[in-house]
């Protein structure tokens, strides 16, 4: 484990401990290893929901698994919500705004229904489906093909959160992860991105040419006890609900229990952690 990663985990760990007392927005406490509460082994109660959402295979039943529910009804009612979320993401992560489609960098973006849900039928689709754009981001899969493909472990699954993270300093830029990702969630820095960063955020590193990047569920903000930037930008609307999928008492579980949700390409067995209410 290199320095960068160890430091990140230390921060994540410290924030967990701080989170016990403080009114942390995302409680990283369901895992017994992190030892905070008694609701640590909800495997039995969790199983039906997992089967319903994740296809035939069993989802990881233990530990914290951060996930997201995007309420596209709310997003569609107010298209500004998604635009603001995208803006917040760009500003939080120094994402370069490169005009050419060839070289663009995208963490959170929007696309038509037929592009986002490629295995759902758009035949005689409702107006809602044909006229609106939908949010697209990394699914932080429970079984991520990109992590399997990476020859240097530059992209890896953070055991304490379930986040699929990147080490920009280890990535060799082979782009195997881009071929492996079935969701098109990854971008490559085809050139120096820095001239295209409109507003520089000193709290997050900018990247160099030749490395891959993608949504990180705002791991750096979670470590400080903050919500992900996109979630925060939708505050008060519940258009995006974020939390621990393995914590039966979490808000996200309440939403999943109540609403019918879908995932992108669930048949591939990657077990996405991002859910959509359509």
């Amino acid at each position: 484990m290199d320095k960068q990663r160890r430091k990140f985990l230390k921060i994540a760990g410290a924030s967990v401990i701080a989170g016990i007392g403080a009114p942390a927005i995302i409680k990283l406490s369901a895992s017994p290893a992190l030892a905070s509460g008694g609701h640590a082994a909800p495997a039995a109660g969790h199983a039906p929901a997992a089967a319903a959402h994740g296809g035939p295979t069993e989802e990881a039943p233990k530990g914290v698994r951060l996930g997201m529910v995007i309420d596209t009804r709310k997003m569609n009612a107010d298209q500004g919500l998604l635009d603001n979320a995208i803006r917040a993401c760009i500003d939080a992560h120094n994402i370069p705004e490169i005009p050419s489609k060839k070289s663009e960098i995208k963490w959170l973006w929007k696309a038509p229904f037929e592009n986002v849900f490629t295995d759902a039928s758009g035949y005689h689709g409702s107006k809602k489906i044909t006229e609106n754009d939908f949010a697209v981001l990394c699914n932080h899969c429970d079984d991520p093909p990109c992590v399997k493909a990476c020859p240097t472990q530059a992209t890896f699954k953070v055991a304490s959160t379930g986040i699929v993270a990147m080490d920009f300093h280890r990535c060799i830029g082979c782009r195997f992860c881009m071929a492996a990702c079935p969701y098109g969630a990854r971008s490559f820095n085809w050139q120096d991105p820095r001239p295209y960063i409109k507003k520089y955020n000193k709290e997050f590193p900018s990247r160099m040419k030749g490395v891959v990047e993608k949504c990180n569920f705002c791991a750096e903000r979670l470590a400080l006890g903050q919500e992900p930037a996109c979630v925060e930008s939708c505050k008060g609307t519940d258009a995006i609900v974020f939390g621990d999928l393995n914590d039966p008492k979490s808000e996200i579980r309440a939403v999943l229990d109540k609403e019918f949700t879908i995932q992108r390409k669930p048949t591939l067995g990657t077990k996405p952690s991002v859910f959509y209410i359509v």
Partner: protein, 389 residues
């Protein structure tokens, strides 16, 4: 033995200078790419691998093809290949050198390439590919050099070397199998997600590799007075024809699965490659001419090689071998990798056109490979002449 590369006819030096010129152009183009980033290429967010990786994939096959000489000679004791087995091994070395150079050219952060070794990741097929490719390179250098040295001294090669010779046979199969596994284990890339990719790769490799060996033999026959012998050539032709037919059969099976099952995901890439794929009123078809050229050249080459004239006439033989090599290069060195990105995971279609700079690097790497093969062949043939004369 290296001193043999330092003496040659003017044509030899002109050929080396010619290759050196392209190597210099390639190096200059690479400096530009290194400074700017891979944005100098035609690759994009949607088509994230291009000419470099497709050349790599094809050349792994050329390297593996060398085993079609080693196997009959060492396992089946087919004596006719005795003279040219070394040429197969040295061709494999040149091909792997090109493979490694193409990988380096494709990396966004080439200075970090050793991270693959420093942070070994047994989950990644690229990790195994690095092992088998370097292993096969090592085995060919070792076996080629030891056996050639023995020949020079006119003694039998040491017994221990046969262990490495036999080991190189499964390694040859493994380099192309693992290279196929880079592609065929990825969920969501329907064109690549096919169990027949590895056998298909091997079939096309066992045709394209020996085809290049035939061309090389015909060239050295003309320019260096080294005759591999008609019997050996004709045996190679037989191997090439069967392997080529198998490859075409496998391609046909892909068509059956796609079009009979009628599952769109299984048809899209084939449609894109051979007929053009319609999307939102636009037909994307920039690979169609290449793919039909592949089909026509492949069957044409098989027909030419199967004629009795190919067994006697060097020109017919060379033409058939060249047609076949070009055909399978179009198939694997162009079509296979690029079509895997069509459509994108979000069902859009982005076409890829390499840039001039990218072509410069590609040609530079090919020139480097030809340089390596030329120098190695100069040594091998120099030794042969020395022993005979």
């Amino acid at each position: 033995m290296i001193e043999k590369t330092l003496k040659g006819k003017p044509a030899y030096w002109i050929w080396l200078a010619f290759l050196g010129m392209f190597m210099a152009i390639g190096a200059a183009c690479y400096v530009r790419q290194y400074n700017f980033g891979l944005g100098m290429t035609g690759m994009s967010r949607d088509v994230s691998w291009g000419l470099y990786i497709s050349q790599f994939t094809f050349l792994v096959g050329v390297a593996a093809g060398g085993v079609m000489l080693v196997l009959p000679y060492y396992v089946h004791d087919y004596k006719e290949f005795g003279k040219i087995t070394i040429l197969g091994e040295f061709l494999a070395i040149g091909a792997i050198v090109m493979c490694l150079l193409f990988i380096m050219a494709d990396l966004g952060q080439p200075m970090r390439a050793l991270n693959v070794v420093l942070h070994p990741s047994p989950n990644s097929m690229l990790f195994y590919d690095a092992i088998v490719l370097n292993g096969y390179l090592f085995l060919n250098v070792l076996c080629g050099w030891v056996i050639l040295t023995a020949e020079k001294k006119q003694v039998k090669p040491p017994k221990w070397i046969y262990f490495f010779v036999y080991l190189s046979i499964p390694f040859a199969v493994s380099i192309h199998t693992v290279t196929a596994m880079l592609y065929c284990g990825l969920p969501g890339r329907h064109f690549w997600l096919s169990a027949i990719i590895a056998p298909r790769f091997l079939a096309s490799a066992f045709a394209a590799g020996p085809a290049l060996i035939i061309i090389a033999c015909l060239v050295v026959k003309r320019v260096a007075g080294f005759d591999a012998g008609r019997k050996a050539m004709n045996k190679l032709v037989t191997i090439i024809i069967y392997a080529a037919l198998l490859n075409m059969f496998f391609v046909g099976l892909e068509f059956f699965v796609g079009y009979y099952s009628n599952i769109p995901g299984h048809k899209h890439a084939l449609e894109y490659l051979f007929f053009g794929l319609e999307h939102n009123g636009h037909v994307y078809n920039n690979l169609v001419p290449f793919m039909w050229a592949f089909v026509i050249l492949a069957f044409g080459a098989i027909a030419v090689l199967a004629t009795p004239a190919a067994r006697k006439n060097d020109f017919v033989l060379g033409l058939g071998a060249l047609m076949l090599f070009v055909a399978f290069w179009l198939d694997k060195g162009i079509g296979f990798v690029l079509a895997g990105f069509v459509p994108t995971p979000l069902h859009e279609i982005t076409e890829y056109i390499p840039t001039v700079n990218e072509l410069g690097i590609t040609i530079g790497v090919w020139a480097t490979g030809f340089m390596v093969v030329t120098l190695l062949y100069k040594i091998a043939i120099g030794v042969e002449h020395e022993v005979e004369g």
